[in-house]
Symmetry: C2
Subunit: 296 residues, 2 copies
Amino acid sequence: MTNPAYFPQLSQLDVSGEMESTYEDIRLTLRVPWVAFGCRVLATFPGYLPLAWRRSAEALITRYAEQAADELRERSLLNIGPLPNLKERLYAAGFDDGEIEKVRRVLYAFNYGNPKYLLLITALSESMQMRPVGGAEVSSELRASIPKGHPKGMDPLLPLVDATKASTEVQGLLKRVADLHYHHGPASDFQALANWPKVLQIVTDEVLAPVARTEQYDAKSRELVTRAPELVRGLPGSAGVQRSELMSMLTPNELAGLTGVLFMYQRFIADITISIIHITECLDGAEAASKSPFPI
Amino acid sequence: MTNPAYFPQLSQLDVSGEMESTYEDIRLTLRVPWVAFGCRVLATFPGYLPLAWRRSAEALITRYAEQAADELRERSLLNIGPLPNLKERLYAAGFDDGEIEKVRRVLYAFNYGNPKYLLLITALSESMQMRPVGGAEVSSELRASIPKGHPKGMDPLLPLVDATKASTEVQGLLKRVADLHYHHGPASDFQALANWPKVLQIVTDEVLAPVARTEQYDAKSRELVTRAPELVRGLPGSAGVQRSELMSMLTPNELAGLTGVLFMYQRFIADITISIIHITECLDGAEAASKSPFPI
């Protein structure tokens, strides 16, 4: 695979055996319709993702974790105006209400899941860096599990456009939205929006270009990256695997690489959480964008 | 090696053959007395560091690069007061002027080198993420090479304390200063200061603890991480290796891991540049801390 658009990962359609059940359990436990880009990359490190997920699932399915994700989502609203009116822009580009509703469902599904993945990756990253995660005293109410399985009305598996197989135009759009964020590749969120290239083009050029990597955007991202480790320290159970425990299982460069990948995706997912909420705010307003679309 | 203080790397004393000459050429070309933590970790990825360095050395030895590093150093001064008087604190802890001078030499050597490594790692990271680096039109004056070899008065190789072999007390200090920055391990700078455990303790608790990861600190770090890619785009020659070129040379997880490691160290070195300049400011004032200690 020498396509420049390729970033190493195990795609959701290419996994089998233990990795396939890990992917499925992640989606069902977090109640989301995709396995995050970061997790698909972690899956290339032998043995790590299934082990790390087994060690984290119980803490992540708690009401505490759901509320922590709700807090991160609420914090993610950018206060940058004036906001473009995305619905008007989509009407002008020829989309009707039915098509806009399909785009909305995609945005809401990612809005639900992004802050949950931010918690997960933060927990994995902090553990890898040998800092404490979880084990806090929390009430029995917050320690309780939320229901496993996708919320009513959510598609169980969103189709993601594979950048390496997309048209030159779509490859260019995916590259542009990644570079706009100074990212190494496009988030799943943009791979899903790429099913409507015109939508991806409009949100990239008119919604995200004016805000991505501005001072306010970076201050917001910093707020999430700072707050998430505090929240994972408060998890009722431990999560992730400490670096010292992986030394016999991984090679030196795998151990270093995992540390870097986790560090990078913690920041990547914070950015994407902000960007998708900003798009949603431009479509449906601040209230809809910052509340959980699938409250427990 | 199952010591929890261990982070995978090739230490300066353990390299031979091509890697030893790469390490030496990095030190001589950048005119610094150590190979950065980030480079020692990159050295665990087969073939990458010698190749990436060969592709970068010519652009990094230019007067343009020296001036770009000078700019990053000047930008790194934190405006956070009141400053502790480090000299008074060291006198009070029993250090005399001769000992303080030795500490000063270490700080100045790292102050010289940190922004140069920030440029190098930024160039490597941007290339890995398939963004353009170098090739800009610059004047023949800025395109010219600076002298290769250590500046007069600089020790050619600073001794770094190996955390895995240090006393429990020193291991604890190194872990604390790393965690204070939310880093995965201690910078070389702190490994060098660990030769005086009391100095490391004082700078950690009294100089860095009040500022590290505050809003102003993170805003400054963000400024460096934003400015450095602009500066490497302006390099007179290319630097680094593009991800697509490495696909036949590295495994998928090595390719992903390298991307993460470079992303992480770009931010790590920005932080350390700020922290060491802050320590120097507390010792010798803002002017001495933010100017090149070894101007060309």
